[in-house]
Structure formats: structure tokens, C-alpha cells
């Protein structure tokens, strides 16, 4: 049969998967490998030569205080944002699946922030924090209230608020799918066995939708760790560089200060941290999954 020969298979592969494979290699695999190579050079982005410097960039990355400060800041931001996103979205999902009037309308409404890109959202909120809240604060206090974006902790808080607002609706949809996947029979059985509504909720429904939690935590962690758009438009790293997140630091290191090799080394470290946290979380989460 001609269908089993290698040349037939290769032809088929190239015809159907050729374009996809080529683009994937050109955009992801080759740049990834080339990026690892770049970390061993001291390229400035302009010159034709890329001098080999060995592990100097990694040493510099480990000694770069600003980088570790940005990474630490990102970790703190992520912890708060991830917890709040998941608490709020779970609560929203619970409310919009409880059978109240207009729940579909609310579902689509909470999702709206997700439609709009981080850049635009950041500017919308910058206006809200800098103008609307200031006007509101001034009206209440009688004097001029400062914007929360003007203090380091305020800027962090603002970033967390915007991220929670941005992602809660999206995660809500995943939790809604989780709630819907728990069949009514199981819940009915538990209530016949004498469970109260909240016991059914915490001992039956929630364990059965563990997959949704794993999913939402993974998505929110991986997104928060590389936050960039909102960071750029909302705070731009200000005041005094106190809200520069890891991704922005990497961008500045490479494109603003032209330390491409160092920037790439720092990006690679960020990727490793992100991957380790994400994978650990999924492994822990999957271990205790319950089958209905």
C-alpha cells in the first residue's frame, strides 16, 4: 500500500502541517534557542558582532538588585491578585448560577472588561484613580485628596484592583462551567442524606469542581507573573520605579538600556520561575482530583 511508505507520509505531513510547523519553528522554537544563545553574549542590539561573554550575564542578573526587587514585587502582586481574582470570580459564579433573575445578563456583563486590551483598561483606570477618585475624595474631605497612584503602595494596590477587575469575569466563566458540570443528582442525594445547603456546597460541589480551581489558579498565576500592558499604561512603573513588574524590567533592560544579553538572561529566569510555580501548582492540584 502506498499509504504506508515514508515518502507518502512525509508528503502528507508537509501538505497539511507544513505551514504550521514552519511558522511555529520560526516564531517559537528557533527564537527560544537563539535566545538562550544570546544570554551568553553581550550584544547591544546594533552591532553586527555578538561577543561571547560566557556566564557574565547570569552573574549580572543575579547581582541586579532592581531585577530581584521587581521579581519580589511581582510575587507579592501575584499572590494578592490571584487570591482576590479567584475569591471574587468564584463568588460571582455562585451568584450567577443560583437561578436569580437576569443571570445571563450579569454573566455577560461581568465579562466585559476581558474584551478590552490591557493598554486601554489601564488608561481608563488611570483616569478613574487620578481624576474621579481624587474628585470624590476631595468632595468628601473638603481639601485636595492625593491620587493613590502617587504612592508606591497605592500604585501596587491600584494594579491589583485593576487586575482583579480585568480577570474576575473570565475566571467566573470557568467556575460557572465547573458549577454546571456538577449534576443535580449528586446535590439532591446529599440533601436527602441531610446536608444543609452550605454543607452540600463545600463538601460535594466544591470538591467535584476541583479541576476548575486548578485551571483558574494556573491561568491567573501565569498571567499575573508576566503582567505588562496594564503595568505600562496604568503606572508606567512610577512613582520612582516602585511599580516596575518583572516583565517591564526585562523590557527596559533589553530595549531601553540596550543590554540585550542581560535582559534575555533575566527573561529566561522569569520564565523558569513562572514555569516552576505553574507546574507545581497543577501537580498539587491534580493529585487530589475527585472523579464523580
Amino acid at each position: 500500500m502506498k499509504q504506508n511508505t515514508l515518502s507518502y507520509k512525509v508528503k502528507q505531513y508537509l501538505m497539511f502541517a507544513g505551514p504550521g510547523t514552519i511558522l511555529f519553528f520560526c516564531v517559537v522554537i528557533i527564537p527560544f534557542i537563539y535566545g538562550v544563545y544570546l544570554t551568553f553574549t553581550s550584544w547591544d542590539g546594533v552591532s553586527a558582532t555578538k561577543p561571547w561573554v560566557g556566564l557574565t550575564n547570569y552573574a549580572a542578573a543575579f547581582a541586579d538588585k532592581d531585577y530581584w526587587a521587581a521579581l519580589g514585587r511581582t510575587a507579592i502582586y501575584s499572590v494578592f491578585a490571584v487570591v482576590l481574582i479567584n475569591v471574587l470570580s468564584f463568588f460571582l459564579a455562585y451568584l450567577v448560577t443560583s437561578g436569580v433573575k437576569g443571570q445571563n445578563f450579569f454573566r455577560s456583563g461581568f465579562f466585559v472588561p476581558n474584551l478590552i486590551g490591557g493598554i486601554v483598561l489601564g488608561y481608563v483606570w488611570k483616569f478613574v484613580f487620578n481624576r474621579a477618585f481624587v474628585a470624590l475624595g476631595s468632595a468628601i474631605s473638603g481639601g485636595t485628596a492625593p491620587s493613590i497612584l502617587s504612592t508606591p503602595s497605592g500604585a501596587m494596590l491600584a494594579l491589583i484592583i485593576v487586575s482583579v477587575w480585568q480577570y474576575a469575569g473570565y475566571m467566573m466563566l470557568i467556575y460557572v462551567a465547573g458549577f454546571m458540570s456538577v449534576s443535580e443528582d449528586v446535590k439532591e442525594a446529599s440533601s436527602i442524606d441531610g446536608c444543609t445547603a452550605s454543607q452540600t456546597m463545600w463538601n460535594v460541589t466544591v470538591p467535584l469542581m476541583r479541576a476548575s480551581f486548578v485551571q483558574c489558579l494556573f491561568l491567573s498565576i501565569t498571567r499575573c507573573f508576566v503582567v505588562y500592558d496594564v503595568n505600562l499604561s496604568l503606572t508606567k512603573g512610577e512613582p520612582f520605579g516602585s511599580s516596575v513588574m518583572a516583565a517591564m524590567h526585562v523590557y527596559n533592560q533589553a530595549f531601553t538600556y540596550k543590554n540585550y544579553g542581560l535582559g534575555q538572561a533575566e527573561a529566561l529566569i522569569l520564565f523558569l520561575v513562572c514555569a516552576i510555580v505553574g507546574v507545581t501548582q497543577v501537580m498539587i492540584g491534580k493529585r487530589g482530583e475527585v472523579e464523580a
Binding site: 520560526c26 517559537v28 466585559v112 483616569f127 478613574v128 507573573f225 516583565a247
Partner: protein, 287 residues
């Protein structure tokens, strides 16, 4: 009152409370957009002195909208975003569904399983790791930046793994092999079998992949900002960023620009919200 009536009444009260909580949260969610809208129609003096008022002291103005449109070069920018989003989405669907097809049907071929695993593994790589090498290779060595086509092909390259994964699942579970065999017996080539028999059956997945990717392409900022640095090639997010940098003091104008940036997708959402919500849910749960 009987037990049943009591329970029913309690349930009703609980629903009313939940409804009120939902409404309050909903207002909090929508408030920022509302503030943008009311400030579009105010004069510059009013946006500074009283951003919270529904209508400013100096009355209603329609000036900000056309001004922002002109200064932002809205139609050019909108056209760029539309061309890039539509072509990237169509190409992503074609390229990744075909790849998924051949990979599913050659499951015992080691090469296919290798490519499949490589694509899955690559999904954890954040864009930040790839941006420097991308700029270095395509900007420095090859010099192909500042072309829409470059951005479109890069978009496809980045999304192909995720989209392929979703089509892979759909083809494996929903398309019986017998169907293809029947088509082959009837004289279809593999190419015809794919486009005439298999692809039409993938419609739900096509919709999901299209929605997720189109939204991502439309809102993408970092990659386009690195690839397209010429003003006439700007997409909406880049133009918004540039606009804010220039006119940040004129709040009314900025609000008009932000509203312009949001309107196209919001209008689309009004008509397609059921599909968008379904698509995003399906994509998130499968991915």
C-alpha cells in the same frame, strides 16, 4: 405557615438579596466605562474641574469625538487592526486545523507525536522570553519588521500550538475514520476529504478558536509595538498608547480616544455575546 411555604419564602428572600449583591457588583464593574462615556461629552475645563458630573457646567460638547478620531487617525488604525486580526485568525484556523488533522491520523508515527509534544510544551513559554530574539532575528538580520504580513505570520506562529491542540481534540473525538474512508472510496483525495468532509464538521471548534484568537490579536500590544513602529501601520492599542502620551492633559479628548478604542469590540459583543461567552468558556476549559 407550612414548612414548604416557609422554605419557599426563605428562598425568595435569598434570591432578592443575591440579586441586589449582583447588581451592586455589576455597577462597580461598569462604573469605569460609564465615567469614560460621560466625560467624552464635556469641555476641557469641565473634565478637570468636575469629572464626576453627568453634564459639565459648560454644557454638552460633541467636539471631542471627531477631534480624537482625526488626531488618532482612527480609520487607518482601525483598518490596520481589522486587517491584521481577520487575516491572522483565518490563517490560524486553516494552518492549525490542517496540522491537527495530519497529526491525529498519524498517531503511531513518532515524528508526529514529537511535534505534538513539542507544541504542547511550548505553551508555557511566555512572550517575554521570545521578544528579544524575535526583534534581533527579524529586525536586525532579516529586516522584515514594519510589514503587516510579518505580524500576521508571527501571530499565527504563536497561536498554532494552542489552536492545533484544540482541533486535535475535536478531530480525535468527533470525526470517525469510516467517514474519511467512505470519502476516499468515493474518489476524494486527502485534500478534498479534509476540506469537504472533515473541516465542515469542525465548525464549533472553529468558532471557539476564532473567538479566542481574534480577541487576543485585536487587543495585543507588546508584539505589534515591537513589529510595527511606523505610524501608518499602528494598530488600535499602539495608537491609544501613542495618543495618551501626546494628549494626556486633555481628558475629554483622551476619553473619546479610549471610547473609540473600545467601541468596535463592544458593538460586536452586543450581537455575538452568546457565542463569545460560549467560545471563551469552551476554550478555557479545554486549554
Amino acid at each position: 405557615m407550612t414548612e414548604n411555604e416557609k422554605a419557599a419564602r426563605q428562598k425568595k428572600i435569598a434570591h432578592v438579596i443575591m440579586w441586589i449583591v449582583l447588581l451592586v457588583l455589576f455597577i462597580c464593574f461598569i462604573a469605569p466605562f460609564f465615567l469614560v462615556v460621560i466625560n467624552v461629552f464635556k469641555t476641557k475645563a469641565d473634565t478637570t474641574s468636575n469629572p464626576l458630573a453627568l453634564i459639565g457646567a459648560h454644557g454638552f460638547t460633541m467636539k471631542n469625538f471627531p477631534d480624537a478620531m482625526k488626531k488618532m487617525n482612527f480609520w487607518t488604525v482601525f483598518g490596520n487592526s481589522a486587517i491584521i486580526t481577520v487575516s491572522s485568525t483565518i490563517l490560524t484556523i486553516a494552518v492549525s486545523s490542517m496540522a491537527a488533522f495530519v497529526i491525529v491520523r498519524n498517531q503511531r508515527w513518532k515524528f508526529c507525536t514529537f511535534i505534538f509534544s513539542l507544541m504542547i510544551a511550548s505553551m508555557v513559554i511566555p512572550f517575554q522570553v521570545l521578544m528579544v530574539p524575535l526583534v534581533s532575528v527579524y529586525g536586525g538580520t532579516l529586516g522584515v519588521l514594519n510589514h503587516r504580513l510579518t505580524l500576521i505570520l508571527m501571530h499565527v506562529g504563536f497561536s498554532v500550538s494552542m489552536a492545533m491542540f484544540m482541533f486535535h481534540g475535536a478531530i480525535r473525538t468527533n470525526i470517525p475514520l469510516e467517514l474519511e474512508e467512505a470519502a476516499t472510496i468515493d474518489g476524494c483525495s486527502r485534500w478534498q476529504t479534509y476540506w469537504k468532509i472533515v473541516f465542515p464538521l469542525l465548525k464549533p471548534t472553529v468558532a471557539t478558536v476564532a473567538i479566542i484568537n481574534a480577541m487576543a490579536y485585536w487587543n495585543d500590544y507588546l508584539l505589534p509595538s515591537l513589529v510595527l513602529t511606523k505610524k501608518e501601520l499602528y494598530t488600535i492599542p499602539i495608537a491609544t498608547q501613542a495618543f495618551y502620551g501626546t494628549y494626556s492633559t486633555d481628558i475629554g479628548l483622551v476619553m473619546a480616544a479610549l471610547l473609540l478604542a473600545m467601541l468596535p469590540i463592544l458593538i460586536l459583543y452586543v450581537f455575538l455575546q452568546r457565542y463569545i461567552v460560549q467560545g471563551v468558556t469552551a476554550g478555557a476549559v479545554k486549554g
